[in-house]
Subunit: 195 residues, 4 copies
DNA sequence: CCCTAATCGAGACGGTACGTCGGGTCTTCGT
DNA sequence: ACGAAGACCCGACGTACCGTCTCGATTAGGG
């Protein structure tokens, strides 16, 4: 996505572009965000944007990564249930922030932009899921999650309800509800004593 | 959404518009779908579209409802687990159809179009969820689902994982995986014998 | 032009249309005058306008005639020079009025609307010129104008300079200048003593 | 009018636009001339037209100037009467040409478009009148025209009758009539021996 | 340490679509 | 039966952006 040719690019311009995109998106909303507008606000030629990014979504993704890239490491207190509750509450909190709206817009755009989909997957979703996968594998090793459970499935079971509510009903679940969700889901993921 | 003023509108033109939108969306994709194009294909003035629909998404939604509006009734064999498996497999199958792509595009658009979001909610999602809610309440009465479980939460637990996979990873879960999902989720929703 | 079929037409509606056109033209200018607007302002269906008038210019022409139709009779004091000066000063004064702007707009429109040209000719210009022709013929009989002079040419010689200034330079000549004009023109129209 | 900002404009595109306007105006007439049509015919984006011209009339004016800009120099044989007859016959001949129709349309448009009026004045009428003024001043110096006669008035006296006939009666005077006109007008403009 | 080439800003260009306006026709409904 | 109301198809408006393309001007690096 962003730098396709790392050679000779003006880091200064890139910063300005990314920041302009972030600001404009907050001011006018993703729908009215335009490359023309970003260029003007950043004091940059349109070509400079087209040179390094394929779409407005890609610019915004860079802006998101700049701030979300280094997420807090997955909590590890030894109690998987508690850890997931903690992490998910933090995640949902982030969804409600200004950047959360950018993330939501990107998740929307991705439904009809394959290139952006790939980039979002690679640069944001995959890393996020990797961290979660690690925590799940750890929990499996500690016997807190059934060993035969696909980690990817576990993630879908845990995070799916949250995204469902957020993307389909435009609401973010409150903490208590997250706890209930995780408790319920974990019941099904826990090793069955009777087998 | 669609008819804002039901008075004196040409049913013939409306049909043509909706069908043209559906066809064009399949031919060129949602991103390249335009009101201009729909009007041309339908042999209709642009004003006629703007008169009755606020956006291309709204037209497409009407097209979707025309075909999905009367969904198959929720299965009721007495076995809630089996019924949900059945229904969800059907739903995921629909996601993979051509209309499924329209639905996906709408779910994307909805992330930055509040008006469309409201319409999609009201005319498609709410009815779908109502049917699921009914089935869940029935299951609760039959003792197959814990009585203290919020039906909306149950829906999110069941369908969330599917949408997560579909919207975030652009994949539809295969039937076996759906079964595993439902089994796992129901474990957490089943009445606890120990309480 | 105006009533093509005098049968069964609502005199009330016609009045309203003509007046609405006149008012709107003064408020927004001829360029922005529209049949749609006239109909709305007059509280009349568009069809009612199309039924009786072929264009917005035709409506405005009716409005003009209503007020200018019965122009003051051509002055006749026995002194042709003085009479023409009097009449032309009145005419130029009228050009500067609000209705004068309507007349000017019509003279403009007429340059690319043959139907309107014919109507304007028939209903406004011809009558005006007829009155002037009569006065000229009288003057000829009284020996104040050369007998071999085409009356139409005389009119062009007298009024041409005024219209030139008004239509090409957007100015109306002041009274003193009109006097100079007429004096000069009459010098060439006076019977030549030496012939 | 035409170039508002002379910087970096594509001369090629400008030529194409002007020529397309001229051709279209001859083919469909001024009333049906549209910027949309000009752009299409010229193979040019609409914006390129709007960038450099404020209206279709302005484009057409440029087209007119391109061909009429360098008018034949005012004849000067020493005989002012003869010279004006020559020049006016040529002018009236031009009125009857295809471009003459464009000129007539512009004179019409100018009656309700102030911006175009200013441009027409500045770029076509003023230069034409300047040439005539020069010839008149020369004639005054040679004693063929009264010295106290305003040159602008002289022009109105001479050309007014022609424009009157052309714009109000949609006819162009034939040569013989022009001669009679000029003779008559000059009689009033000649120095009076008796004063 | 200059020369050459890449990159930059700026913004014009050919396009597509927007959302609006009005033209002229046709249909519906109320008086 | 007429006329107001207004929906209809259509064409054009003027605007906004798209993505591409020149333009100098600057700037960095390899000769």
């Amino acid at each position: 996505m962003s730098p396709r040719r790392p050679e000779r690019r003006s880091e200064e311009a890139a910063k300005a572009v990314i920041q302009a995109a972030r600001e404009l998106c907050q001011e006018v909303g993703y729908a009215k965000l335009s490359i023309e507008g970003i260029a003007a606000r950043a004091g940059v030629g349109k070509n400079t944007i087209y040179r390094w990014w394929p779409s407005k979504g890609a610019v915004l993704l860079d802006g998101l990564l700049e701030l979300w890239g280094e997420a807090a490491p997955f909590p590890d207190t030894g109690d998987a249930v508690a850890d997931f509750k903690t992490q998910m509450k933090a995640a949902v909190g982030a969804f409600s922030s200004e950047l959360g709206q950018h993330y939501r817009a990107l998740l929307g755009e991705v439904q009809h932009d394959g290139v952006l989909a790939e980039a979002l997957q690679e640069r944001l979703l995959r890393p996020m899921m990797a961290r979660a996968t690690d925590r799940i594998e750890l929990a499996k090793r500690q016997g807190q999650i059934r060993g035969d459970l696909d980690a990817e499935l576990a993630i879908e079971l845990l995070y799916g309800p949250i995204y469902h509510r957020w993307l389909l009903s435009q609401r973010a679940p409150e903490p208590a509800r997250i706890e209930a969700m995780v408790d319920s889901v974990f019941t099904g993921m826990t090793p069955r004593p009777d087998l």
